[in-house]
């Protein structure tokens, strides 16, 4: 299709800063999310650095921290780090930024099914985020991002406000998911059958199903928690006949699928990067597509593995343990298909490819340690230790954040029409990849040695590994700063990007860089699968 003759594109077609806040264009809304989510990532990251800095050394005097005043402050920082990273960064991250931008483009559509709802989702998200930040300036919440009862009912923090914030952001997540499902069902270009849609779309689609089906349960759980705090309705209060463990069941019924809301889109990004940058047809397209749906379905029946020591029955523990291991099957199918795609491919070690390879490496560790934790006998020992912290950071940071960075660099030329500096992008990968392992690998050992999570102090025996971990967190920071610098420099001085710099076959690369307002000059007609390389 080539360059649009007039030089107009979605960025410059409507002038003025204000036009962005009323835009119905999915690409512009994606950029609104991009800026806000990155801002929250910065704040959540600073919190993480503070936590690691505090844990650099054991405390000299009891109840007085290294840099945080005391244990209460540590709990608050921990809560905001967790809540922000989960609800404001990783859950909206890939779907709302890359999904919004590329789902319609990859389908050959002009927009998502409900553009107005799409903009509303962003405003709803911002309302929730603003409310969450408000709690920071009233009485800070110290429950952890999981709001476990009975502590969340008793503590003085602004739990109700925080819970409402999560409720509102959940609503935004539901609306985004709903929009994407209808878009995939109804807005595919002529010839784009369900088995010709790119795997990124399959991943976002599976995620959307989870967002729509799981989030309402979080909504009612959080409402009940708010009611419990305000009116003392009793459902989670044993004094009145209620059951605090029920809260955990309800909470994880959402929050375990939410873990897959966080990782499935990342898997979609990896599928795109690997096939494009190895110039090879993806191995096992159907298997990868169905494994996304498989993971989504199984994820609804594993929530009990968060509760092996919460007093659920032994039988339930065994059942949840086995179903949890079952998740390993579709996940492994994906892993082996990606590896098989690389086999005899023309692998180019571009920054996106490096991030994808980093994902494979780290996610494998994160996934396998997940199977270890699914074994009930082992979990009793590892529960609430740093082993668990290391495990889920390997999945969420090593998995999702690596994929986000890889995806940003992969699609950067398309989103902004500029070429980024390859060296800078690769350097950011080196620091993030090395720094990540330096930070979190020692935490596996710490956990195995029995260091409990969520504490702001530890015995001197753990000091050395904690020091290494903290130094690693600085390396990660340098990596992200280099990545940010590379992107800003590319935006300022980058050369004009070609329409299809990677020689990709998917539809988003067949239009101009950056795309025109309506995405395509003519509605594309699809006659083949998305990855017909060789």
């Amino acid at each position: 299709m080539g360059q649009h003759s007039s030089g107009k594109n979605y960025i410059n077609e409507e002038p003025g800063l204000l036009s962005w806040f009323g835009t119905l264009d999915h690409k512009r809304i994606a950029l609104l999310y991009f800026v806000t989510v990155m801002f929250f990532f910065l704040i959540g990251g600073i919190m993480a650095l503070l936590l690691r800095l505090e844990l650099f050394a054991p405390n000299v005097t009891q109840n007085v921290g290294q840099i945080l005043k005391n244990g209460d402050v540590y709990n608050q920082v921990l809560t905001y780090h967790g809540a922000m990273m989960v609800f404001m960064v990783i859950i909206p991250g890939i779907p709302a930024i890359l999904g919004n931008f590329f789902l319609p483009l990859q389908l050959g559509a002009k927009d998502v099914a409900f553009p107005r709802l799409n903009l509303l989702s962003w405003y709803v998200f911002m309302t929730g985020a603003a409310l969450a930040i408000c709690t920071f300036f009233s009485t800070k919440v110290d429950t952890g991002w999981t709001f476990y009862t009975p502590y969340s009912i008793r503590t003085n923090g602004a739990v109700v406000m925080m819970v409402l914030a999560a409720f509102i952001m959940g609503m935004s997540s539901i609306l985004t998911g709903l929009n994407f499902i209808v878009t995939v069902h109804k807005l595919r270009a002529p010839g784009m059958t369900m088995f010709r849609i790119p795997l990124f779309v399959w991943a976002i689609y599976s995620t959307a199903i989870l967002q729509v089906l799981a989030t309402p349960v979080l909504a009612i759980t959080l409402l009940l928690l708010a009611m419990e705090r305000v009116f003392g309705i009793g459902i989670f209060d044993p004094k009145l006949g209620g059951d605090p463990v029920l809260f955990q069941h309800f909470f994880w019924f959402y929050s375990h699928p939410a873990v897959y809301i966080m990782i499935l889109p990342a898997m979609g990004v990896i599928s795109e990067i690997i096939t494009t940058h190895a110039k090879k047809t993806i191995f096992g397209y159907t298997a990868i597509a169905f494994s996304s749906i498989g993971i989504a379905l199984v994820s609804f029946f594993v929530w009990g593995h968060h509760m092996f020591v919460s007093g659920q029955s032994e039988l339930a523990g065994i059942v949840f343990s086995f179903i949890t291991m079952l998740v390993g099957v579709p996940t492994a199918i994906k892993m082996f298909n990606w590896l098989a795609t690389l086999y005899k491919g023309s692998i180019q070690f571009t920054a996106p490819m490096l991030y994808a390879l980093g994902f494979l490496f780290l996610f494998a560790i994160g996934g396998v340690t997940g199977i270890i934790l699914a074994v009930t006998a082992v979990d009793v020992h590892f529960h609430d230790t740093y082993f668990v912290v290391a495990h889920f950071h390997y999945v969420m940071v090593g998995g999702t954040l690596m994929a986000i960075m890889g995806g940003f660099f992969h699609w950067f030329p398309k989103m902004f029409g500029k070429v980024y500096n390859e060296l800078g992008a690769q350097l950011s990968w080196v620091f993030i990849f090395v720094g990540f392992n330096v930070t979190f690998f020692p935490q596996f050992i710490l956990g195995a040695k029995g260091m409990p999570r969520r504490y702001f102090d530890y015995i001197p025996e753990y000091e050395q590994l904690n020091k290494i971990s903290t130094i690693g967190s600085w390396l990660i920071t340098i990596g992200f700063l280099i990545g940010l610098y590379t992107m800003i420099q590319a935006l300022r001085k980058g050369a004009k990007a070609a329409d299809n710099p990677w020689g990709s076959k998917t539809l988003e690369w067949q239009t101009s860089s950056p795309p025109i307002m309506h995405n395509f000059d003519h509605e594309p007609t699809v006659t083949a699968g998305p990855y017909e390389y060789k």
């Binding site: 559509a109 553009p115 709903l178 009612i220 759980t221 309705i233 009145l240 006949g241």
Partner: protein, 218 residues
């Protein structure tokens, strides 16, 4: 970006092929949203089942404090309103604007009757000291079952969340009624009326489950 165009007298957004394409997509979106509503109430129903299994006699005692006659009248009112809502959609589809307006107005009226009855039920209970959970006035109520407050926790949460949805539904019906008076709907375009109708039916359906579970459980 969405610019609309007229296709066969219907306003169609540029990313849809035609009016049917747009209508099907909108309807799917509405049904998906209804799924989320049902799942949200589902959490309450699951909680109800769990605690009913644990303390069946508590639910039996709690139900005796409710006035099943008022609940029954409310059930009839809502079922009737479902009929008028369906008629409202039908009259829009056959271009009978005034009849549609009337049907929608009756539906809103039914919603209002429901809420007024609910209001009297609530205030009567407050008067008797029947509050949820720990606020239950033990001296005034003197319950046989120690956890009776929990039953009323469920009662107020379930009927309260439902009542909130009735209010939202009334607002939505008012909105489509005004649009109808302005003449925006006809046999080719009636998506908002139908969407609001689906919402209203789901709300009725939830009440049809709530009524026996809360009022008749003894």
């Amino acid at each position: 970006m969405s610019t609309n165009r007229l296709v066969d007298g219907v306003n169609v957004a540029s990313h849809y092929r035609d009016a049917t394409h747009q209508y099907d997509s909108n309807k799917e979106g509405i049904w998906l949203f209804m799924t989320t509503e049902i799942l949200m109430f589902g959490g309450l129903f699951v909680g109800y089942i769990i605690f009913h299994t644990l303390y069946p006699e508590m639910f039996a005692e709690g139900a005796t404090y409710l006035n099943w006659k008022l609940g029954f009248i409310n059930t009839l009112v809502l079922i009737f309103s479902s009929l008028t809502m369906a008629l409202g959609i039908y009259y829009c589809q056959v271009n009978q604007r005034n009849k549609a307006t009337l049907a929608l107005a009756v539906t809103i009226l039914c919603g209002a009757i429901f809420m007024v009855i609910k209001y009297f039920e609530y205030t009567h209970k407050f008067h008797l000291g029947i509050f949820p959970g720990e606020k239950l006035n033990l001296e005034m109520v003197k319950p046989e079952h120690a956890n009776l407050g929990l039953y009323f926790g469920f009662y107020y949460c379930m009927s309260g969340l439902h009542g909130l949805h009735v209010l939202i539904g009334m607002g939505l019906i008012t909105w489509v009624m005004i649009k109808n008076i302005k003449g925006e709907f006809n046999s080719k375009y009636f998506t908002p009326v139908e969407g609001v109708g689906i919402f209203w039916h789901i709300i009725d359906l939830i009440w049809i489950f709530l009524f026996p579970l809360l009022y008749l459980v003894g």
